[in-house]
């Protein structure tokens, strides 16, 4: 700190009263950093950037979100549809959560590989685990806020974990809920805590960095810096390297935001929460899956401990055991580079965690139960048996005398890792679909691909089909007549369309409610006054709202397209269906209440297109897709521009980094 000098009077004036400049100089500029850090050391700063992005997007989302069970779901959809750039903020935030966990998991495994938890970095490691725990709590509560089906049932399942504890369990759960089930009080407090916890994380990050700067960074060799020849000042060497990493990462992150924004999400969460119906397959967000698998691995009561309690204890222990790691690992050598045996067990452990994650995402059935149990046993075995023994029996390779030697890592590793990750999750997604292969329309849908957009003509035809056919039974509550301007209707045409229907308004000066023709600003008027009326008119089956249909089913557009064309006149041999139901190949359970909705020439297209049933299905799916993702065209075209910009900026940063580092290599 003594090295700080400035010619600027104002700076000196401030510095004498608050030594902020010398502190910055000391901790962000001069901070001696090992000269041999590889790209795996970028993930800490990346996670910090992600934390800032999450807090910023979250703050602006909170300005439009309403934490009330009656309107929470709709308020999120309003953000998506009506708030300026609301879709961008929400997708940045939702995908940001997944990115944050990807970064932090890599950061943790980097610590595991290079022994960054060993003396003198134990407290640094503890604070890191505390950050991880706070992130898990924050992520969980955030996922509850949109108040979809997964939100509600995730909240129910996770809060019920605490009921496993004997005696106090039930009271804890009631306390968490503020009622007798997950309900409005729960949503309110989760919102409050979801807002608070990120700032707790910021505080923990400050302590994490403080501890880091006290003990200095570990490095790929795991040996201490012995003098100035082993270190570089943080600025400019690592500022530019971190910035370059941020550029690469941003492209990875934004690719999801602009082209696959619901990749990490569950379609069920686009169905509003319903406390009466649990979705058939409940899964937590992917980042909890390994722990979820451990929770489910315990299926037998042992002595007086019920299976439920075992699972819960094991799940918490799986994280808490990390606190004991500095002592469980008995080897004095830090980096796996010099620990031939540990290195192999490290990869085994990583594989074990990935398998646990895979098992956690699948229904608990058949062989997967056993796999989950074995992997759980191995998880704990790694910490409790393998690590303590390895330190005793392993013969480490000789450590080099000092760090000052060429740095050889490249971005290639990073790229390979990203591809691997994306591939893995893609596979998980593809294999989650059940039932027959879905039909695809000839030529595919117009909005697919990087540059795809909704076909305007198909949208107008689709609206005609919806208006003439679907809307007789189905509502589309989230779309307003004014939105039809997006698909090419003029203001006057919209007035005429809206005025076909009446809505209730009032009370007037006499205190009476009255009907008036709908206006452009009204939502599309549903065919029935309420859900009960809709059910009564449809033989007890409620025709679902179509606003989000394409997003609320796995492979939504293909599913809806296939469903409309998937009818059979009579149920095939061996597939009896109840009286009054139709047989459909694609509907879960095959027995559907909706009669075949599309037939050749059920509408006459005003633009002269031949109304085959395939054409009709394709058009209406296009329209439904617009209804579910009205922002899609804007999203993709913005994505292209942003990517071009980022590619340029990242290339510049790379060139600058090469220039700055050229005398070090």
């Amino acid at each position: 700190m003594s090295g700080f000098k400035s010619n600027n009077k104002v700076v000196n004036w401030v510095e004498e009263r608050l030594p902020i400049f010398s502190m910055m100089q000391h901790s962000a500029i001069d901070y001696p950093t090992p000269r041999n850090l590889n790209y795996w050391w970028n993930f800490g700063s990346l996670a910090a950037v992600m934390l800032i992005v999450m807090i910023l997007t979250g703050l602006f989302l909170a300005m439009n979100y309403a934490a009330n069970t009656a309107i929470a779901f709709d308020s999120v959809e309003r953000i998506m549809r009506d708030v300026n750039y609301g879709w961008l903020l929400r997708y940045l935030h939702a995908n940001g959560a997944s990115m944050f966990f990807i970064l932090v998991y890599i950061h943790i495994f980097r610590g595991l590989y290079y022994g960054s938890y060993k003396s003198p970095r134990e407290i640094l490691w503890f604070v890191g685990i505390a950050i991880f725990l706070a992130m898990m709590a924050t992520g969980f509560m955030g996922y509850v806020l949109p108040w979809g089906q997964m939100s509600f049932w995730g909240a129910t399942v996770i809060t019920n974990l605490f009921s496993a504890f004997p005696l106090v369990g039930e009271s804890i759960v009631t306390l968490l809920w503020g009622g007798f089930s997950v309900d409005n009080p729960t949503l309110n407090r989760f919102f409050a805590l979801h807002f608070l916890l990120p700032f707790v994380i910021v505080g923990l990050v400050v302590i994490h960095v403080w501890a880091l700067h006290t003990v200095k960074s570990n490095n790929p060799l795991g040996i201490d810096m012995k003098g100035p020849q082993d270190s570089l000042p943080f600025h400019p060497y690592y500022t530019i390297k971190d910035l370059f990493g941020i550029g690469v990462f941003m492209m990875f992150y934004l690719a999801f935001v602009f082209w696959a924004p619901n990749f990490f999400g569950e379609p069920d969460n686009y169905i509003p929460a319903n406390p009466m119906v649990t979705p058939p397959h409940i899964v937590p967000e992917w980042y909890y899956l390994p722990f979820y698998a451990i929770l489910r691995a315990f299926t037998m009561d042992i002595w007086i401990i019920p299976a439920k309690l075992q699972g819960v204890l094991a799940m918490f222990s799986a994280i808490l055991i990390l606190f004991a790691l500095p002592w469980l690992d008995t080897s004095k050598v830090r980096s796996a580079k010099f620990r031939p045996l540990y290195r192999q067990f490290f990869w085994l452990f990583l594989a074990d965690c990935l398998v646990l994650g895979y098992v956690g995402g699948k229904p608990a059935e058949g062989v997967l139960i056993t796999v989950g149990q074995l992997c759980t046993a191995y998880y704990f075995g790694h910490f409790l048996v393998i690590l303590p023994l390895l330190g005793l029996i392993e013969k480490p390779k000789p450590l080099p005398a000092s760090i000052a030697q060429p740095v050889t890592k490249a971005a290639a590793i990073l790229v390979a890792l990203f591809i691997g990750l994306a591939g893995m999750s893609g596979e998980a997604l593809a294999s989650s679909g059940a039932g027959p292969a879905l039909k695809k329309p000839d030529g595919g849908f117009s909005w697919e691909g990087v540059f795809g957009a909704h076909d305007k003509a198909a949208l107008k035809r689709g609206w005609q089909v919806f208006h003439d056919v679907c809307a007789n039974c189905h509502a589309m509550k989230l779309v307003s007549y004014r939105n039809l301007a997006d698909i090419g209707f003029s203001a006057d045409e919209i007035k005429v369309i809206a005025a076909e229907k009446e809505v209730q308004d009032g009370p007037n000066d006499e205190g009476a409610m009255f009907n008036r023709p709908a206006r452009a600003s009204d939502r599309i008027v549903p065919p029935f006054a309420n859900e009960k009326a809709a059910q009564a008119a449809n033989g007890g089956a409620l025709p679902p709202d179509l606003s989000l249909m394409n997003k609320a089913r796995t492979n939504g557009p293909y599913y809806v397209y296939s469903l409309m064309l998937g009818y059979e006149d009579a149920a095939p041999e061996g597939h009896p269906i109840p009286e009054g139901k139709m047989f459909n190949h694609y509907f879960p359970g095959n027995a559907i209440s909706m009669p075949p909705p599309v037939m050749d020439d059920i509408v006459t297209y005003t633009d002269g297109t031949k109304a085959t049933k395939e054409q009709i299905a394709k058009d209406v799916v296009t329209f439904l897709n617009w209804a579910a993702e009205p922002e899609l065209d804007a999203r993709k075209s913005m994505g292209v521009k942003v990517m071009i910009f980022l590619a340029g900026l990242t290339a510049l940063m790379y060139a600058l980094k090469r220039q700055i580092w050229k005398d070090v290599h």
Partner: protein, 184 residues
């Protein structure tokens, strides 16, 4: 810094120029990009599409007798609809327009002289002026009186005395029939 030691060599002078160029180019592009990225955040605080779409309010004026006023809500703000008496219209027409703080003829403020329609928000700092109910103080000019800081408006809703800088604004409106007005 590591490469300053080599500055004397020609190749490194090139290197220094190249480095400066890269530094400036990267910083400029980065700063511009960050600036643009902030816009969606700021713009998200502007009125949303559904807010902007709630544009019109229909008022039934058949029951408003001469001399009476009603207050309706338009875009979350009060709108005054006053059925003016002939003497009020005459008062408003007599005023020397040039003497006003915001010179406006009464004829330009009312499409039909007997119906005066105003946004009922004081142009000073946003209070709702009194004068709608029979018992309300109407100020020295028989129109409206804002109690917050004492602004007096006349029977055309024009500012005549007090701190307010401008007349009560006239919202966009149309007579959709003899008995209804659509505001907005």
């Amino acid at each position: 810094m590591a490469d300053q030691a080599h500055n004397a060599q020609p190749s490194s002078v090139d290197g220094q120029t190249r480095r400066d160029f890269l530094l400036y180019a990267t910083s400029a592009v980065g700063v511009v990009g960050t600036g643009i990225a902030l816009w969606p955040f700021v713009h998200s605080m502007n009125p949303a599409a559904d807010t902007l779409a709630l544009s019109t309010t229909d008022v039934d004026i058949s029951a408003i007798k001469p001399g009476q006023s009603v207050t309706v809500v338009w875009r979350g703000k009060p709108v005054f609809v006053r059925h003016r008496l002939p003497e009020e219209i005459a008062d408003a027409g007599k005023v020397d327009v040039a003497s006003l703080r915001e010179p406006q003829k009464d004829g330009d403020r009312a499409k039909k002289p007997e119906w005066l329609i105003l946004v009922g928000v004081c142009t000073h700092l946003g209070c709702v002026p009194l004068g709608q109910k029979p018992a309300d103080p109407k100020g020295e000019f028989g129109g409206w009186f804002c109690p917050c800081h004492g602004s007096h408006y006349d029977t055309s809703g024009r500012i005549r005395k007090g701190p307010a800088p401008a007349n009560l604004p006239v919202p966009p409106y149309q007579f959709t029939s003899d008995t209804t007005v659509r505001i907005g």
